[in-house]
Amino acid sequence: MNFDFSDEQKSLKSEARRFLDANCPTDRVRRVLDDPAVTHDEALWKAVAAQGWLGAAIPEQFGGLGLGHLELCAIAEELGRAVAPIPFASTVYMLAEGLMLAGDDTQKSDLLPKIAAGEVIGALATSEGPGPVSAATLQATVAGGRLNGVKLPVTDGDIAHVAIVLALEDGKPGLFLADLGHASVAREALKTLDPTRDAARLTFKDSPVGRLGAPGAGLDLLAQLLDRAAVLLAFEQCGGADRCLEMAKAYALERYAFGRVIGSYQAIKHKLADIYVKNELARSNAYYGAWALNTDAPELPVAASAARISASEAFWFASKENIQTHGGIGFTWEMDCHLYYRRSRQLSLVAGAPRLWKERLVSHLERRNAA
């Protein structure tokens, strides 16, 4: 039994932190936040591609580094910590993972090398309106290889080249690959809760698409894809939550009230201890998820659900209590607290809200305990 990252993985992680400290300080994040015309940090995106991170878990035969998912988890944690304003999750956790899960050789050979090189940005287009994605509400259709329908919000849909789209074909949900550069696709950028992460409304009119995976297997494949994404997102959430705790602690040690640092009051100490406890539980659940993802273990659906629920709760709690610890200054635009508050919500919604994952988890537990 070994419940830790290897020395090589840890050194990759510290290297990633140094790189992001230099290339993604929060004033760089704010350039994307403050200017609605800026969709993402293009320079950072290119630099990240040059580091090889986009292809960390992509096999060498498809142009990646072929390292594995533990390495990708280590990178994800640092990206979350830095609130990196780049389409990493959409491209790597959604598109690349979707291709590796369900793509045929042509699709993989065509797209994975371009993803690894930073030439293709991806997106996952499942939602069509308020409420969780379900077969009952799905409207987009594919017939004769042509897609019709509206998807919103699609994270990074305004800048992505290729999207995985959930749509009905012969009345059954399937996954499809759509070229978003095609003239038949209309995109409209949306105002988002976390402006450092863009989203769009995509309207497809007889847009050409290719099947991803077996016909009619869309919901099953989507569940498998989201299990993989959930673990990686959990690491981003852990990174963000830990950064919030550091910020809160640093402020609690420098801010004086009533003649002493506020970090010496139990009201603040217990608040920070509560954050620490949630962060550690989230990290432990994420580690188990990482193991399950990396080894493709049958426990993955349960492990991924636990990681997502735990990390969503930890990041939410840490980000809101970080603002509270800062007091009035924490409520200003100039303080970085709200970058994490916004990102905590973005990450907890982007692959389905925790409520959905709690339901999935309990359904799995019921089946497992009945067996």
Partner: protein
Amino acid sequence: MDFNDAPEEAAYRAQVREWLAAYAPKRAGSQADDSLAASRAWQAKKAAAGYAAITWPKAWGGQGGNPIQQVIFSAEEARHPIPPNPFQIGLGMCVPTVMTFADDATKLRFAGPAIRGEEIWCQLFSEPAGGSDVAGARTKAVRADDGSGDWLVTGQKVWTTGAQFADFGIVICRTNPDAPKHKGLTMFWIDMRAPGVEVKPIHQMSGGSGFNEVFFTEVRVADSQRLGAVDDGWKVSLVTLMNERLAVGGSVGAGWTQFLEAAKSTPGLDGAPAIEDQALRERLADWYVQAEGLKHTRNRTMTALSRGQTPGPESSIGKVVSAIQMQELGAAAIEMLDQFGIIDDPALAPLKAGFHFSLMFGPGMRIAGGTDEILKNIIAERVLGLPGDIRLDKETAFKDLPTGR
């Protein structure tokens, strides 16, 4: 990262499984009087096979093994209906303290009988005037005036687990009331059968009596029973308390599995099974996630231990999470029963009234072995490095401190 056994761990597990299959009790010891006998018998069997103190050095009767082996054994042992373990406080806290501070003859005298379950130890720290504030102990030890060098111990301890059947204890006493509170304490080991020791069970709010009050009236203690220097007992107690938080961390009572099973067989709104209630499902998911998070946090701690690192105060998180979950889960399960939840009869209530036990014992778990609040202080101060509270009792002579009632 690998959650499977390494080859040598797998071999150890196989060896443990084989031994347990041959020797473990086939049926649980009941909660009646004979449970102590059953516990002693099981402990003796484990000791003979080397499993009673896996991580202790062989010289002291242990197996010279590592913490991972202890984890493997405990996990495998828990799959069998084993009797309660009244030796944990001795082997986990008291005897290691004795081993750290006593001479070789004393160590040799106590290690074997403790491992074999022949002698049971208790920890005499908490007092009516101070549970969280252990350094506020008022039980006094004064030198006998007969020139023997012996000490006479007088005072009262409280919440002493197992004192009713303990043979020995370690006791922290006030030896210098003129010094500040942390600088006037001395630790001794004490014979619980000595004249002047009186044990009275505490009737807990949960109905049981697992804890005791212990009264000392001029109990004579030889100076050779002293652990550490005179007035240096606070340092000695820190060794014990560090071990306590590791020992008390495990979860007690019903967990998410029992809740899930109960929710399947209990009718919910409109008669459909309660498990179909979305609100209950969400709570169940939260409890599962907490329990799994704790399990894997322990696994991370074990990984650090197996690499020779010392477990830090971060292990305090276990009880902060599990104790409140015990209380909340018990209350929610009972609420699920609706009016039927009023019934606390093991013959009628689910799980032989196990959820009622969680409800009523949960408050004690949140206090025993460091209250939620003390544990959060420990996390804030020793893990996060936040400053200690402003203290009014650090420099003042103990006898001059305000005491309240």
